[in-house]
Symmetry: C2
Subunit: 460 residues, 2 copies
């Protein structure tokens, strides 16, 4: 099945739904992956999405589909389900998926649901809900296949065969001591290829990379990506094995972080993708993120207005405002993005603060001097006669634009390098906070420099 | 081992290297993961990186470290290695990793190396090198654990035990027919827990998701992320099983795409992270990506200059140029990013072109009207007396700025929605091409609207 096949599948679902061919659709859904059904939701109205969800012929498949759906569809469907229906659905899910769904509910509703849901599974889910959703605890599954050190390979395989439990991706087998503390790891292949009489202790690898329940998800993702792990065991503060983060969860974390980074850069951090909201709600969510730009614009307005006397004598200066600000903003965003990404990938270290910053200053200076010179020559060529009426020569204009572009680009690159390094140093994610600060500051500094330089060159 | 431990390790490596404690360092490196050694390169000068590489006490570990290193360090080390050293190193690697390293060499050097390297492995690497590096063929490993349908579980386990081959992540076992065509898949757990006498055919899942050698890597990543696969089999045009893409390779693809997307958005697409280049080389690489901004700025300059007579009569208009352009640019980037990311995640479809575009137009209109009104009121308050000397009232200014901000934001959001949809429709990656086009066009349209509206309001 390829990506095209996935699209065709979604189209078939939509067609059958439009035709009200519910029975036919139910038969078809039985053979479809939950992720494909979930992919159809975003193309449906909220009402139709609920209709489709109710047609799913199996409670377990309903649960998986709900887990795979985008956040908006999840909220929509959860709102439509009765409490007793929802309880049956979450019961069919693995504890970590159930916890993720319950975390979406309003507090009273989730409390009532957990109240009605008794037994071990409910306790497990309750425990998972206590972890911060940005931590390893928030994405781990509490079901880990763990055995004691003296267990033989034969016994381990028999236990695996006998286990009817929902063991998530049993590709590694974890070895624990009598206190439940993690002491080693075997992979399933080692188990299969080893002499059946050997103990797990004797074949396990005892240097295990593990994370704490409170470890940040970004750090978990970094470790999995760096060391090519399929799963990472999660331990509590006493090194007791309490859960497992699998690579599929890590990919979800990486994708979500990617979306967040891109939206932050676009001055839209914190808002989620919003294709299912009404345009009015979308606008309401997006507008606050335009405020930094608005404030920078108002600031520039005051700066420019305070130089009205300069502008009224040398009208042509207004024409070069956008390019001065644009070049500064662009080079600043470039530097900020390169440093931020370098930090995220571990290729730039905050301990190298001055070295990294020094590079960005020099890059800004070189790029600024080059583009400044280019713009100066260009201005001199276009306005080569100067303006006899206003009494200035082309070279005054060329000097102003070249010096101010060079300065504002250098300062912008410096800010673009310094701001993410500073945020990383004090423990704030640079991807989220850097861009609005760099662009806003760059604009205000750039426009001020421009007029100060202009006033000097035109002797005003 | 946590992230902090990784940092401490890198610091120890650097310290021992500075002290020239080569023997001590070699002993230590023996116990270190290749990814950790590779992480140290970026903090070293090219010469020291080569020194460190030569201290690595084992040819296999050298190979893995080279594989894990960043592209700049790879090029640096490859340049320093003699041909015979390099041959031994690539021979120690798995075929897909060897092919990735050889692909970095200049054509003559790679041809000479393959010439000297004879045997099956060399042929395999040669085959891999023929695939486009952006395709499934470009990241797959040709070593797949595949057996025929009638094989029993017992035989399969015995084969697995006997196999000394380098089988990459044998967590799935693929089942092929007599022509080597993929007919099914078992996971290792099924194999272990099933009756040893059963045939693979009887326990396999026969609906296998596979990709072609030519399938785009982005599509491979999307499938793995969507269906939570650990590996994806790769087949040729006759459905013959030829390789395997594993989830760790997919994470690398996702990370690389993420870096590319972020740099593209920052107007720095196509340049790689450059922390190891000299500032001069960095500037030379980054500068071309500022050209779009430069051209837009020159365009704006001509537009503004052509309205010089308007500006010379109503000087205050210059002060509102940055905010008009800034708000348009920001809302356009927001829309472009949200639509681009929605397309990448499959949450927005090109088939919904008009619906998606309609939303963005409405969002732009609502946000534009709101911020336009706000700015108009603000302008009216700040310049409440108007300007008797120039003969205009505050309401003329308020009208100009509010209408032009509303219009330019609406147009910017429309462009931000339309451009990525258009690129996706014609098969160009919207993440790469969208932003420069949207911001450049928005600037030019915005500044034109501003002066046309201004001329109307001030009756010029």
């Amino acid at each position: 099945m390829s990506g095209t096949a996935g699209k065709i599948l979604v189209e078939s679902i939509l067609r059958l739904l439009r035709r009200n061919a519910d029975k036919h659709l139910a038969r078809m859904l039985r053979r479809v992956h939950a992720a494909d059904i979930a992919a159809a939701f975003v193309q449906l109205s909220p009402t139709d999405a609920i209709r489709l969800f109710r047609i799913i012929p199996d409670i377990e498949l309903q649960g998986q589909t709900l887990s795979e759906a985008d956040p908006e569809s999840q909220r929509n469907i959860l709102g439509a389900l009765r409490d007793d229906e929802l309880l049956e659905i979450v019961k069919s899910l693995s504890a970590d998926d159930a916890a993720d769904i319950i975390a979406l509910l309003p507090d009273e509703r989730s409390a009532a649901l957990l109240e009605n849901w008794k037994g071990d599974d409910a306790n497990e889910v309750d425990t998972l809900l206590a972890y911060d959703e940005d931590t390893a605890g928030g994405i781990m599954s509490p079901h880990v296949f763990a055995l004691s050190g003296p267990t033989t390979c034969r016994e381990a395989i028999e236990t695996l065969q006998a286990s009817h439990e929902d063991i998530e991706m049993a590709f590694y087998l974890y070895v624990v001591n009598e206190h439940g503390q993690l002491i080693g790891i075997c992979n399933l292949r080692q188990l299969v290829v080893s002499d059946p009489g050997r103990s797990l202790e004797s074949i396990m690898i005892s240097e295990v990379v593990s994370v704490r329940t409170g470890t940040d998800q970004g750090e978990v993702a970094r470790l999995v990506a760096k060391y090519n792990f399929l799963a990472l065991p999660v331990v509590d503060e006493s090194n007791k094995l309490v859960g497992l983060v699998t690579v599929d969860d890590v990919i979800d974390v990486i994708q979500a972080k990617h979306t967040e980074d891109l939206l932050s850069m676009a001055g839209a951090g914190g808002i989620d993708l919003d294709e299912q909201l009404t345009p009015f709600d979308s606008a309401r969510r997006r507008m606050p993120w335009l405020a930094a730009s608005f404030i920078a614009g108002i600031g520039s307005m005051f700066v420019i207005n305070s130089f009205e006397s300069v502008l009224s004598q040398i009208a042509v200066l207004a024409a070069f405002i956008p390019i001065t600000l644009g070049m500064g903003g662009n080079v600043g965003t470039q530097a900020a993005t390169i440093v931020t990404r370098g930090l995220a990938l571990g290729r730039v270290q905050t301990s190298q603060f001055m070295r990294v910053l020094g590079r960005e200053v020099l890059v800004g200076l070189i790029a600024g001097a080059t583009y400044g010179l280019l713009l100066g020559l260009f201005a001199a060529a276009v306005f080569r006669g100067g303006n006899a009426g206003e009494g200035w020569s082309a070279w005054q204009l060329a000097g102003t634009v070249s010096i101010s572009v060079a300065c504002s680009m250098t300062i912008a690159a410096t800010l673009g390098g310094a701001v993410p390094l500073f945020f990383a140093k004090i423990g704030i994610d640079p991807a989220v906070a850097t861009n609005p600060i760099v662009t806003t500051t760059t604009d205000l500094v750039g426009v001020t420099i421009y007029f100060v330089v202009g006033r000097a060159f035109f002797h005003l």
